[in-house]
Symmetry: C2
Subunit: 684 residues, 2 copies
Amino acid sequence: MSSEPTPDSFTIVFQPSGVRGKVEEGTTLRRAATQLGVEIESICADTATCGKCRVLIEDGHLGKVHSSPTHASAMRPTEEQWITKRAKTWRRMGLDPERLRLSCQAEVHGDMVVFVPESSRGNRQIIRKSATDRVIEIRPAVRRYYVEVEPATLDNPRGDLERLSQSLVEAMDRVHPEPDWTAPPADALTIDFHALRHLADALRDGNWSVSVTVWQDREILDVRPGYREELYGIAVDVGSTAVAVYVCDLITGEVVTSESMMNPQTAFGDDIMSRMTYANEHEDGLATLHDAVITGLNSLITRARRAARIQPEDLLELVIVGNTTMHHLLLGLTTKHLSTVPFVPTSHRPLDVKARDLGLDVNPGANVHLLPIAASFVGADAMGVIIAEEPHKQDENLLIIDIGTNAELVLGNRHGLVCTSTPTGPAFEGAHIEYGMRAAVGAIERIEINAESLEPRYRVIGTEGWEPAATEDRTGPVKGICGSAIIDGVAEMFRVGILSPRGHFAKGIDSPRVRQGELGWEYVIAWESETSIGRDIPITLDDVRQIQLAKAALYTAAQILLRELGLQTPDKIILAGAFGSHIDTTKALMLGMIPDCPLDRVFSVGNAAGDGARIALLNRYKREEAAEIAASIRRVELPVDPDFQSEYMLAMNFPHMSNPFPSVAHLIPDNGPDPMAKRFTGGR
Amino acid sequence: MSSEPTPDSFTIVFQPSGVRGKVEEGTTLRRAATQLGVEIESICADTATCGKCRVLIEDGHLGKVHSSPTHASAMRPTEEQWITKRAKTWRRMGLDPERLRLSCQAEVHGDMVVFVPESSRGNRQIIRKSATDRVIEIRPAVRRYYVEVEPATLDNPRGDLERLSQSLVEAMDRVHPEPDWTAPPADALTIDFHALRHLADALRDGNWSVSVTVWQDREILDVRPGYREELYGIAVDVGSTAVAVYVCDLITGEVVTSESMMNPQTAFGDDIMSRMTYANEHEDGLATLHDAVITGLNSLITRARRAARIQPEDLLELVIVGNTTMHHLLLGLTTKHLSTVPFVPTSHRPLDVKARDLGLDVNPGANVHLLPIAASFVGADAMGVIIAEEPHKQDENLLIIDIGTNAELVLGNRHGLVCTSTPTGPAFEGAHIEYGMRAAVGAIERIEINAESLEPRYRVIGTEGWEPAATEDRTGPVKGICGSAIIDGVAEMFRVGILSPRGHFAKGIDSPRVRQGELGWEYVIAWESETSIGRDIPITLDDVRQIQLAKAALYTAAQILLRELGLQTPDKIILAGAFGSHIDTTKALMLGMIPDCPLDRVFSVGNAAGDGARIALLNRYKREEAAEIAASIRRVELPVDPDFQSEYMLAMNFPHMSNPFPSVAHLIPDNGPDPMAKRFTGGR
């Protein structure tokens, strides 16, 4: 049922989208945009204060449309003042101030072609570089509105909150560019207790004009005098090893500053099991670990906001991800029942907690959002990875592996997701490895072995190039081997024939580096002279076993997920997490650590959990998505039957020539048949 | 559309209500009751744990119904155990344990007459003695449910909160006796952060049975192992002068214990104006006054709960009333704008704040409800009085006057309410009176004057009988005169002719007590020898003026409200507040302090504000009522025009013989015409 345009209607074309349509004479350009489904930003509720809605009016023709700045209404003083003040800036940016208008003020009096610059677009987006580039619409849960409130008078002595609420919902209605959006009723708005305490002074200090921050269209978090744009949020990734904060501008979506540190809980245990043991068995253990991470977070937040010159009260929301143990310790939830069968978390749900209840040094009214937990050991960090990588929106089957001391695996596509987790032991992080260490200065991080000479070369963190040799007057820099290099080393030892497909040291190898040491067979990576610890640094037979155990756990878990969905192999593999991003994916395939997959379909995405936190911070609807996924994802438990056990044992082998992964078959040596290895379940 | 009862239906009669109807065979008695609209209490969701639903099955006939305990199903072990354990108690109470059944267990297998004892009735009520006795249904905002939760297993590893929520809404549905009530969906329940922290341990300590406290059917406040009945709330009245707490059992509705103290803010100012001045003009003044009242409240709460042996964590809600200044200082809201034109509060709305945000020593998850504010100086205390006295439900026009240093007046009936407030000055509280003092030991509290001899007699707080005389070896007990006695004294001085209708001392009175002292004319109430202060204690001319000013303010405000509703006189007057309850209503009428009203229609109701807090604590729907009233009550400002000023001046006179109040005309002396007094606007 379309009605004829009334006689005094004009055609407006919005560029660059090209959206066009007729609007009535006298409509403001911003309202016209809303009517035609084009979103133009605003904070100040059309009072010509914020300038967020600026547009350029094209001079010329487009199709049948003749456009000219004179087709818009004349400027009123407030608009003119705003534009004149900034004319120089626009000229410097190559924009013609003569064509610039505030779309909330300029009214339609003729056909127009209107260019909406990126900064004025309502559905601003950021591009995330990941396995697949994607755009994130900026739709934060907290939004700031500039509100002009009716002053209190003897004739209108309603409470400040009542008058503010009324003006606020009117401003919300005007500001929101989404066509279908409607503000809640004024009395449905709640107010944070701390914001309430500042309300009366803020209104008067701002001469009845205030900037109001609203959370999820329903809670007033903050009221500040006058027009104030600064609005920031923090995405937090609490890993077992490292804690990272990303301070984001909630208007532009940009990361303003970021900081990271070792998780201070490391002092109480390296991995999640030892932390839980500490929390469960020491008096005040839980409080100690909780306080440690909160104190750490506060120092990170303070560092970050000082670097960006941000006031604590301008930090209005946090989104935190972390594995289930980190999640519980951060909230001060007991881990007693998380560490024992049936490993049940206190809650799977997404949670919103007041920052002041957690003791975080931000605006006391700020909310802290925790992404939901998918399964006992597939935590909020995995949910972060999921909303960053979006397997639930793809046709291809994605296998996401977040590797830490515990690996979290998610498999699936738009038709459904399954997840599981498996303890991989600390070998991948360099622990339980004879000369293992964290990825820190002095750690070997890459190893290659020459197939002829069996001589290795390596790269050390903190020094340039390969194999920095010791000089006569200086010891070498090597202190140990970190996780990624252990994978490299074992894969290379297998490739050059030092190791058999079952992980045995080959007999009769002619190299001084392959020897029987105190701990049994070993291969020396660095001689004493190359180290700063005064000892040869080898990879031992036991180290090889640790890697075999860990990779078998990972591989078997992946196989179980594939079987659950009736798949042979995934279409794409994403390795997430700090370790995942340092790993050489070719080596991982050579070792049979992950299911077979074409090399160009295996991606390392780095801290995808942190990215997920940032995405959820910038787009509230992603939280709803996460909650829906958490409710629908199928949790697969690793079976305990004997078949599984023998499968796991077989998965300890390396895929070899009689049964290699097609994707890396050309790299695998022909090192003779191995009756056990034949039955390796990988590949085809 | 009524369907025929199926063949195997039986008639059940519930006593004492007499409600009867047919229910299907096998229905439990409690379900039968719900079907027929009879509410039977339960906490344990029909698990035969709480015994709240016990009923007695009558043996005999009622109409066509033949009833017998054997018409109910046989007892299962849990029920039998519950009843056997308590058989002695029942016998002692004169109840036959043979006829006792738990209505959640006993099923219908024949016609029955069932007696529901008062303690089992779902719509339990308390009777409030007030100007009009009335019943209050016990429907608190917090309710406790006993919930048996499915244990966590490897097959059901959902989070504790998710499993609890599911079982809780099922229990809520079973427990609620109201026919139309439905539980919210499980995922709509939120949980207080502190309750979340105790959730996992509580479930396991209680072997998956817990007692859960829910606020407003939507927020889990507390989770405790096993079956636990204790559930308390606190009604608080924060007056400018006194603070009172009433600890209430939220299941029975009884006041378990109460405590009161001087408001510790008194150290910073006697009345609300001086407190606001302190808060506004001292650095940290607001924080100082806020801390003072919170510290005071905490000591009262601790004293009260210790007396009743209640744990802090069993105190699950507070309802607080107080005038607008007390309300703001308690919440830590600035009073800067409340003390200056146009006297606007931060918020009129009812507010719910976490007890921990206020620093109150109760369950940290408890909510604190503040009744709404009707107008700038008609505060939450007046709202308390309104819901206690319910003028909005009456046909008669009620005038409610809450007298303090500021008087709050409400007038109206079911067709609408108007309110106003007026400063009365501190005279009524004994301040600004030469020998005025608080109502404390040593204060004269009642005065009578013999019309012949002009000799007074008085009663002193802390001593027995009238006019305790001094003996030779002991000084008299009198220290001063409190507010109620000043009213008495001035009224008596007028009655016996010492004062003219305009408040002048009559000439030529032959009494040594009427004399010109240093401060002008005065009437001596107590001679030096009767006092402990070594001085004569008179009522001075200036004291009389103070009372005249105060009573004129009160009277004029009442007149303005009456005029607003087009009324001559109210049908009933209610004097609330500590002062209002000590006042002699006859004297108040003689002085023209309140509008004319038959003596038996003037009531002193004591601390009605505190009663209102208790009512709102026990019945959540009363809060909704209060919110509706606050939104609809008409605020009347005292006019500033010259007519009003002269009216106010005239109201300073006492209604005299040419124009007395009909209700007290017989008491008023014929003390001659007074040209000014003739024009007194009261009466007819």
